[in-house]
Point group: C2
Chain length 157, copies 2
């Protein structure tokens, strides 16, 4: 049993392709966004729960490494891990792979914030069921090595 979560896969749509015949930057982010949605389902913060609880999850910040080109129709899958969490935030990490490859085509890390929208939107603790899920995932993933594409600063050396 692998500790990494495999929660989302898709084929690359024709609408996501640029004039060079490869997937545009924005659509890597779209796919990672769908993987984040699947992660939120997994931690019991799905859309129905958020509506019922008048809550939301905001992405505050993202870092992306574009590692390889992807052509139209390519099946891709996303593997997900958490790099940290606290009462209101999750530091999430995704890698995207071609279905038949162990080398990622892209990686992203994200900072997510749980927000109470019942009044003026305000940062708010996760519900207990989600906090428990996060603790359980973190325990299972603790033995994994730190991934390659995290903690990075963009700059010319």
């Amino acid at each position: 049993v692998t500790a990494v979560l495999s929660l989302y896969e898709t084929a690359v749509h024709s609408a996501w392709i640029d004039y060079n015949g490869h997937m545009s930057e924005a659509y890597y982010v779209l796919i990672f966004g769908y993987a984040t949605d699947a992660f939120l389902d997994h931690i019991e913060l799905d859309d129905a729960a958020r509506r019922a609880e008048k809550s939301s999850v905001y992405t505050l910040e993202a870092h992306i490494n574009y590692l390889d080109e992807v052509a139209e129709g390519t099946p891709v899958r996303v593997e997900s891990r958490i790099l940290g969490y606290d009462k209101k935030r999750v530091h999430l990490y995704h890698e995207m792979f071609r279905a038949d490859s162990a080398s990622p085509v892209a990686a992203t890390e994200l900072m997510l914030l749980h927000v109470d929208k019942s009044d003026k939107p305000a940062a708010s603790p996760f519900p207990a069921r989600t906090a428990e899920k996060l603790a359980s995932i973190a325990t299972r993933q603790a033995p994994l090595e730190r991934p390659k594409y995290c903690g990075r600063i963009i700059g010319l050396r």
Copy 2:
């Protein structure tokens, strides 16, 4: 005369809106991508030139700060700066604003690489006209203060 480049503006399309009525993450990146295209036009590395020279410009890495929600139809504009460059790379910075506001709704920094695609794709120096444009932009922008959303690492403190 401002040293910051204002090269791209658009209204937020309905197809870019999520189930909460606000623009999805991926479409901030799409807009920034169009602003990058406009920047490449500005430094004389437009699509026609790239085709003629069998070159391309790859985005290696991106960092995004999502600062505010944006509703359908909102007019937005992007301001662009270079934070550095060398013979083959540009460290580019964009901020996105509502047309009527001085507070950004998002910021991104990008590392771009010029690539020769005449054979197997390989990093390659910018053509002389582009190197001259970059030097001229950098000189004009040198007095500007370092922007707020650059050089950041994602993590829980």
